[in-house]
Symmetry: C2
């Protein structure tokens, strides 16, 4: 593999995944990953452009930022690209009224959206909210529509909490897709539209940007398909087999965000 | 379409699906579908061979037969081919110790199976048992195995109860397949092995047998792929769009089991 200098040449902006890169969720909100608080601070001081790009769909953007601040990170809501606000734009643009299969923590993101007489389903990481009753209700709403529309906030397979790996929204989206014989529209990583809007907000071209994430498919593969470079951290949901993934090869694998920032500060050109 | 006489020529045995053909499940166990109790009785008197072939995986075979008897049907456990006993055979033959993601009503079927230190997951129609916690536990068991083995009792998309359409095991199997990046082994319809063992117990060759079911894919498509003929009833989970299914065309569509039996008694040759 080429030297880091070549691999990181010309990088001017960085998109940072949040869960599994900055912190691991769990009891009491979660814990920062060792070195990540300082790494974010160093990156922001470096002159490189920085933006956060998350598929977090259990909490509102506000709650997520509040949590991260409690954990010691410095960031504001305006620096975060998240799927729920993007989904609200899409719903309004297409006159869609969603039935929401989402975590209670996310509902506030949709308070300006008409949810009466639903003509689509929005599914997000509902965690304990993925009861049989809630899943079946969403299924029944879809089956009663002439053209069922299912909008999924991300399609992650699983994420990591202190208690272990947890099923993510993608698994439940697959269940509804199969039951209804339909394909969901994904809002969030790895959707190219989502990466492109994050890049636009970051303010650099794809070839000047690097994504740092713990998800080999959603973060690394998705960013690379948009012309970005991508590093995978060996924290969060990372598994050793990711380094031999049959379809996706990261531009580099690093122990954690702190190592990624070390390398960027050494080799990128802010 | 050819006349019924041609379509049913040479039929000597009948496989009957149960849920959606004999009865609809729901509060208090369910209700017989109009005309089905008499239709089963007439069929059994006719000289045609008859066997029941179900993907029921919420109840044990014993409980299912008890329920059907309460609803007025005459049948015994020995006349029913069901996936749980077939799964137990497979588990024993391969030395597999399952983690069971099944309805409490089905557990008795596995009482002779070693479930300590699991090296596979068996998933069945758990209904309310498909909580996030139970799904996540099964997911974690699979992810800890070097070679994850997932055995699914059927792969139905949904079934019909009095309260409406209900998500079936297939949807939840898809969720685990996606999350783990694996493919489940199906025991039950439409697995060819399952149909073949039902045919063997029925005692006629595939070309002399007809399957009657409400599931265009699981019953009709599955039976046809084994060389049988298959009729779809317009009861249970039947939906009008089934008659224009892109891949499966039944040998005939009938209002209900009573009409199917009328036609069989008129045109088949017992």
């Amino acid at each position: 593999m080429a030297a880091w200098r070549e691999r990181l040449a010309g990088v001017r902006g960085v998109l940072l995944d949040i869960s599994g890169v900055l912190y691991d969720g769990g009891e009491g909100g979660g814990t920062p990953i060792a070195g990540s608080v300082e790494a974010v601070a160093r990156l922001k001081r470096s002159g490189l452009k920085v933006r956060f790009c998350t598929n977090e769909s259990q909490k509102s953007r506000r709650e997520l930022v509040q949590l991260l601040r409690r954990l010691g990170f410095h960031l504001s809501e305006g620096e975060v690209t998240a799927p729920a606000p993007a989904a609200c734009q899409l719903l309004r643009a297409r006159g869609l009224r969603p039935h929401l299969l989402v975590h209670d923590g996310l509902r506030s993101e949709f308070h300006q959206v008409d949810t009466s007489n639903p003509n689509c389903v929005v599914i997000a990481d509902a965690a304990e909210g993925f009861s049989f009753q809630n899943m079946n209700k969403a299924f029944q709403v879809l089956m009663e529509l002439e053209t069922p529309v299912l909008i999924s906030l991300g399609k992650g397979r699983y994420y990591k909490e202190a208690a272990g790996l947890m099923l993510d929204v993608g698994a439940y989206t697959k269940a509804l897709e199969y039951a209804c014989g339909i394909e969901a529209e994904v809002v969030g990583k790895p959707s190219p539209e989502f990466f492109k809007s994050a890049l636009q907000e970051l303010g650099v071209d794809a070839h000047q940007a690097v994504m740092i994430g713990d998800d080999i498919v959603g973060d690394v593969g998705g960013a690379q398909r948009c012309g970005m470079r991508a590093l995978q951290v060996r924290t969060g949901k990372f598994r050793p087999s990711d380094e031999n993934h049959p379809e996706v090869r990261a531009d580099g694998y690093v122990a954690n965000l702190a190592e990624a920032v070390d390398l960027l500060l050494q080799h990128a050109q802010p």
